[in-house]
Symmetry: C2
Amino acid sequence: MKIVALAGGIGGARFLRGLRAAAPEAEITVVGNTGDDISLFGLRVCPDLDTVMYTLGGGINEEQGWGRVDETFVVKEELGAYGVGPTWFGLGDRDFATHIVRTQMLEAGYKLSAVTEALCDRWKPGVRLIPMTDDQVETHVVIEDEQGRRAVHFQEWWVRLRASVPALSIAAVGAEESTPAPGVIKAVEDADFVLFPPSNPVVSIGTILAVPGIRDAIAAKTIVGVSPIIGGAPVRGMADACLTAIGVETSARAVAELYGPGLLDGWLVDDADADVRVPGVDVRPRPLLMSDADTTSAIAQAAIDLALELRSAEES
Amino acid sequence: MKIVALAGGIGGARFLRGLRAAAPEAEITVVGNTGDDISLFGLRVCPDLDTVMYTLGGGINEEQGWGRVDETFVVKEELGAYGVGPTWFGLGDRDFATHIVRTQMLEAGYKLSAVTEALCDRWKPGVRLIPMTDDQVETHVVIEDEQGRRAVHFQEWWVRLRASVPALSIAAVGAEESTPAPGVIKAVEDADFVLFPPSNPVVSIGTILAVPGIRDAIAAKTIVGVSPIIGGAPVRGMADACLTAIGVETSARAVAELYGPGLLDGWLVDDADADVRVPGVDVRPRPLLMSDADTTSAIAQAAIDLALELRSAEES
C-alpha cells in the first residue's frame, strides 16, 4: 500500500505516527509544509518538517508537541546576553544543531529536499519526508495594530503575537512561482490514496495545495481528510484565527468545503459533528481526539479504511 | 599612556590581563591574530580574538585557557549524532552563540573589526580589541604523513594532530594581499610604545607582522617583547614545533633575532636565560612564569617600565 499524506506540524505529525502504526507495511510519503520556514540567527529553521521528523524519529518533546525532548537553552541564553534576538522563538541547543547542519548543507548548494533526506538518515522516521517545494514560499500575515497595517512573517503572528491580533489576510508569498520538490508528484501518482491529517487547513494543507501542480496531481486520487475542527473549535493550535482571516467559518463542514469541490472524497469528522453534510463528500463521524497512541492509530486506520472503500467504489 | 599590544591566544590573553591590572588607566589597543580563524559548521570561528575577549571579559575557562567557563556541549553532541564533523574542534554551546552572532553579522556585510567591536560591547574587555586585518589570512602548515605531503589548515595541525607531525613549512596565506584593519595603524602611531606578549612568535606575532604596513608602523615605535621561551622550551603551547618548522632554534635569543633587526628595543627574558645577549636589544632577565594574577601583572609592569625607560633614552 502506498500512501501520500500532506502535513503541517504538531497535529499532522501525531496523526502520521498513528498512520505508521496502523499501516506498518505501507510506503508512506509525507509532503511537508515549508511556508512556516524562517531564517533565525542566519540559520534556516523548518518548524513543520522538524516536528514531523522529531515526532516520528522519537526525538520530540511530547508535552509541548514541538522541539526536542531533554532540550537545553544555553545558546539562546547566550544570544540573549549578546542582545541578539528574536527571543520569542524558542530554539533549544539540540534543535540548533539541526538548523546548523541544514544551513551548512543549503549553503553548500544542496536543495532542501536533499537536506531533509540527509537529516532523516539520522532520525529514520519510517516515512519518506519531502518538503512541498525546494523553492522559497513564505506565509505572510497582514495585521493591523498600533504600528499600522503591515505584513509580518507567519511565525511572528503565530508565535510572537500568539495570533492575538486579527489577521486581515494570509498569503503564501512565492507559492505561485514555486514547483513541487523532486519526488512529490511521482509519489502522488504512485499512491493508492492521499490523506489530509488534521493539520491547519489554511497555513499547512492550504499552503501545500498552493504549490502549482500538487492540487492537480492529488485531485486525480482518492482523498480522505481528517477534520482539524471538532464541534466548532480547533483540536489544537489556533486554526480558527486562520480560518477567520480568510473568511471561513470554523466548522468541520466549512473546512471540507474550503478544500474545494472535486478534491475531498471522504471526510472524517468527530461524533460531535455527526450532522455535517458536504455535497460530493462522504462524511463519516467517529471519535477524533488523538488522546493517545492507540486512539490516534485507530483514527488513521479509519482514514485508511474509508480511502480504500471509496477507492474501490470509484473503480467499480 | 597609550599602549598597543599584538596578541595571539592564551599566552597573550593572560599577559593582557596582567597589563590591564598593571596599567588600569592606560588606553590599551590589542591587535589580534586572525590567521588561526576557521570556518566550522558554516560558522566563522576566531579562536585568538575570542580567547582575548573571554579572558579579559571574565568568561574564559581558566583551567584550559580557551573556551567558556561552565560550558556545555549539547550542540556538538547533536552534530555528532548527525555524523557531521569535525569532532576534533571543541566548540561548546556558549561558544557557538558567539560564532552564530559573528557569522550572522559577517553575512550581513559587517567587517570582522566591526563584528569584534560589537561582541566586545558585551564582554567589555577593558581594551580595544581589533583584528589585525578584515581580510582573510589563513595560516597553512605543510606536513608529510602517510597521506603524502600536503598543506593543512593551522588548526588541523595544531588541534587535530597536536603538532605531532613535523611541519615542513608554515605560511600565512593571503597575508601579502591583506591590509591592516581600520584603526590598527592609527593606534600604533598614537601609542607611547608597543608590546609583544609571550605569544607564539611564528603563528601569532609573526602572522600579525606579515600584514603589510603593521611591521613598518610599529618599527617606528619603542617595542618591548616578553619571551615566550624559558630555558629553551615554550612556556605553554607548542611554539617549539612552529620555530623548528621555520628553522629557528627554540631559545629566547633566537626568537628575539627572529623578530628582526630594528624591531625589538627591549626583551624580557626569564632568569633562566639571563645570559642571553641580542645585538641592539636591551635584554632584561626576571621571573617570567605567569603563575598567578600578581606575577603576571608584575611581568606586565616590568615590560611597561622597560618600554618607558627605553623610550625616554631614545628621546634624550
